[in-house]
Structures are given as C-alpha cells and as structure tokens.
Amino acid sequence: MNPINAVLRRELRSYFVTPVAYVFLVIFLVLAGILTFYVGDFYERGLADLQPFFVMQPWLYLILVPAITMGMWAEEAKGGTLELLLTLPLTLWQAMLGKFLAAWLFVGLALALTFPIWITVNYLGSPDNGVILAGYLGSWLMAGNFIAIGACLSALTRSQVVAFILTALVCVLLILVGQPQALDFFQGALPRRLINAVAHLSMLRHFEAISRGVLDLRDLLYFLLSALSWLVAGVLLLDLKRTH
C-alpha cells in the first residue's frame, strides 16, 4: 500500500503545484454552472432536480479529463523520470493505481465543489436528494472510466498532445456509440444482436440510468469492469515498452 500512497500523493501534489489543478477546477466549475443554468434551462424547466447538470457532465469530462491524464505517463517517459519511478521498489500495478486514484480523487474534489448547485436546487424546491446522490455517484464513476482510458493511452506515447487527442477520441466514441443516430447509421449494415451489444458499451446509457436514480448492479459493473480493463491494458502497455 505504501508505494501506491506515495505515488498518489506525489501526483496530487503535482496537480496543485503546477497550474493544472486550478485551471481545471475553475473551468470545470464555471462551465458546469453555465451549462446547467443557461444551456440546460435549469429555471425554465420548473423541475426541482439536477438533470440539466448531469446531462452536460460527459461533455465536460470529454475536454477536461484528457487534460489531466495526458501527462500521466507520457510526461514521465519524455522527462526520463519513468526510469527513476520504475527502478524504485514498486510494481507497475502500484504505479498505475497510484496515478489513477490521484486523478480520480481530484475529479471527485471538483465534483464535490459543485455543491452550490445542489444547495440552489434545495433552496428553490424539494428535490429527491437520493436521485441527486446517485447522479453524483454515476458522474464520478464515469469520470473514473475516462481517467482509466486516459491513463492507458498516455502509456502509449511520449507525446502529451497525442495522448490528449486519442483519449478524447475514444471517449467521444464511447459517448456516441449508444445514441440513436449512431445506432441508426449501422442499422442496415450490422446484425441486430451486434448493434444491441454495441449499444450496451455506451457510457451514456449506463450513466443516464444511474443518474435517474436507478442503481442497477449491471450499470455499476459496467463502469467497474470497463475502468479495470483499461487499467490492465495500460499496465500491459507499460510492460511491453520495457521489452521493445
């Protein structure tokens, strides 16, 4: 546990020493506010819930999460610190988990700082706070998935820009894949079973289910397994790099 903790603390500290943390927090909070209150028609809907807030979250993560994860391994590879880190007594798994958890906790913090929106909705009406809590949980799980994807793809390259673009690309695919428009596009070309299977890969579908307050074990499993798979792939990539 000790090395994971050490890596986690180092990563978190590096967010706050460099402007990354502050830029992220400010943009995340400002955009979350704008998207909720202006784009999401928070007031006009006349409903005491946070749906407009949660609906916009995937799109926020799409831009902001790759910005946190792009340097995770790419920067270490470029700066030579990867050699230092991997010759310290820790396993690749511990290094990966430490970095992943640091980013995940950080996004958790950003999410927690949106509490004024929650206070607002409680002040204006009497929402179902259980549903809101589920929404937060779903959002955090989704962020964890984006981070796991970013962590994996950052291990692929020395270039942070490449890592950013690849991560954003994979994330947008995973958001869009379940949308009716995307599914319609493949309607004729692919068998129905396959389309259904692909639709289940959609992050949005599982996120929307959770944020409506329906905590289905399958949705939770989807997020956990998917994040785990990306982390495993990232560790394998790092290991492969030592051989080639």
Binding site: N5, G79, G80, L84, L86, T87, P89, T91
Partner: protein
C-alpha cells in the same frame, strides 16, 4: 553483488548489449567504460529492472531482477543517466517522495535524510525546485536519491557528468567512502574517473565485453608503459646516445614541444640507464618522468581494434 550472465538486448537488428557476463563483488568499484553508444546505459537499465533483457539474466544481491524485481530493487541504489527528477518538486519534496517509496520513516529515516543531505551538501538548496537546479546540483540530488536507503549495491550512470572539478572531487570522495563494503558499478567515458575511482575496469564497445582488468593492468598494455620522457634543449645528441642503449626499443620526439620519449624493449626497465647516461653526457634535462602508460591510448586501441576484430559481415 551484481552478476550478469549472457545479458543481451536487441533493438530490432541492432544488438545494444551482446552476451555480457560480469560479476562485481562487495568492495569493488567497477568502472564500465566504453565509447558513446557502447551499451553501457542499456546494460545498467537491464540490471536495474527498467528494461527487459532479450536474453540472459542478471542478479542484484542474489535476487534475479526479472523474477524477484522488488527484492532486487530494494537492494539497489540507482542513478539513471542524466539524473532525472520531477521538475515541479523541490529537492526536499523529491527526497521525501523517495523516502516514502523506500519505506523510510520515523526517527531513523530522518536521521538518514539529514546525513545524506549533509554528505552531498544539499542543505542550502532543499527549498529549490528541481527544474531550477544547475546540472551539477541535479546530479548531486540524483546521487542523494540513490543512496538514501543505504543500499548494499550502487549503480551510477555517469555520476560526475556535468560537475566542476571540485564537485567531481567531492563525489569521488563520497564513492570512495561508500565503496568499502558495497558493490559499486559506475559507467563513464571519462578516463580520469577510472584512475580516481575504480579498482576494476570493464571496457565494452558495440555491446561486447572487450577487456576486464585493473586500471594498472590496462596501463601496462600501453606502449607508453615504462617509457621515460624528458625535455632537453639539445635533444638531437641525446637521441643518438640513447638509441645505442641495449634496453631501448625506440625514441620519439614530440613535434610540438620537443619532448623526448624513450620506449623500453618489452620487460626492460630503463629509467636508471637513461638517467645515468644523461648525467654522464652532462645534458641538462628537465621534467624527467617515468610513464605509467596512457589509458586513453589503450582505450582507443581496445575499442577501435575491437570493432574490426569482431565485426561480422552484414
């Protein structure tokens, strides 16, 4: 102890390290010497567990670096090439991070931290960011990082690169002090370093081991080993007289400063004979010197000779 057995690493068609087998015992300071691109860093990276060997094995303190990586890494202090560090951290934060990674804490941990900081004279820079450090300071921080856990085996990739002569001296003294009970492997392309630090030298080029000897043995391979050199105004006469000595194989005069070098026949000692002759002739000589042998010449001979001898047809 460090041991490698047929350690090999290929990058595509290029063999960076070619069946390298070495064994370094406690108390030894082994200098891994070779031209740039000879495979020194690649070999060290495999021993440190950063790179996976294409074939062959390596052990640190008896722990196989592939099968028991954590045990091997705990026993090893490693300074990677270029002394990398996390730029945004201060020296203090960085060393604390290493301590946490190494599981050093409590009273003992802090005492060790203070001792290392003092040894490497880092007291005044603890608050500075690693990014802002000069090359020499960075190297010292890298060394501090490597010795924090007081490892039985130390591996340093070009430890004095970028240091000024005073800092080099300080680092060499540190290595000297640490050398007594430890196994130390350093890589360098500085020949002076070999004299100052190592009691054993391994020369590699193109990934192959070409020589394994003490610095003195290497010097003895030099053409200059046992030669006598001096400066004299009337060099011409001396040259003729010396040439008649039975032990002398040849005489050369440096075209730049006119310094005369007298080469002995194999196994002969000529210093006394040369001195006696010069005195008898009443020649005024200055800076008469018995040559130990020139490492740079031997190095060149081994590494360039090695290429032609071992180069395989493509």
């Amino acid at each position: 102890m460090i041991e490698t057995e047929q350690l090999t690493r290929c990058y595509g068609n290029l063999t960076a390290v070619d069946a390298l087998s070495i064994r370094v015992e406690p108390g030894q300071v082994l200098g891994l010497l070779g031209p740039n691109g000879a495979g020194k860093s690649t070999a060290m990276r495999m021993i440190a567990g950063f790179l996976v060997p294409t074939s062959g094995r390596a052990w640190v303190c008896g722990h196989d670096v592939m099968r028991e990586p954590l045990l091997a890494k705990r026993a090893l202090g490693y300074l990677p090439e270029g002394a990398p560090g996390y730029g945004e951290m201060t020296v203090h934060e960085f060393l604390q991070f290493i301590m946490r990674m190494r599981g050093l804490k409590g009273e003992g941990g802090y005492r060790r931290f203070d001792a290392v900081v003092q040894q490497l004279q880092l007291e005044d820079v603890l608050g500075l960011g690693i990014d802002t450090l000069s090359k020499g300071l960075r190297r010292r921080v890298g060394l501090a990082q490597a010795i924090l856990h007081d490892p039985p085996v130390l591996m340093l990739d070009e430890p004095t690169d970028g240091l000024d002569p005073n800092q080099k001296h300080a680092v060499r003294q540190l290595i000297d002090v640490m050398a007594r009970e430890r196994t130390i492997l350093i890589s360098t392309h500085l020949l002076e370093e070999v004299h100052a630090l190592c009691n054993r030298v391994v020369i590699i080029a193109h990934g192959k081991l070409l020589a394994d000897a003490t610095p003195a043995e290497l010097e003895a391979r030099s053409r200059y080993h046992g030669a006598v050199s001096f400066s004299a105004p009337g060099g011409g006469i001396a040259q003729e007289m010396l040439g008649r000595l039975p032990q002398v194989a040849g005489i050369e005069i440096d075209p730049l400063d006119g310094r005369i070098t007298v080469f002995p026949k194999p196994g002969e000692r000529i210093l006394d004979a040369v001195e006696t002759l010069l005195r008898e002739q009443g020649l005024e000589v200055s800076e008469i010197q018995l040559e130990r042998g020139r490492l740079d010449e031997v190095f060149r001979q081994i590494t360039t000779g090695g290429v032609t001898a071992t180069e395989e047809p493509a």
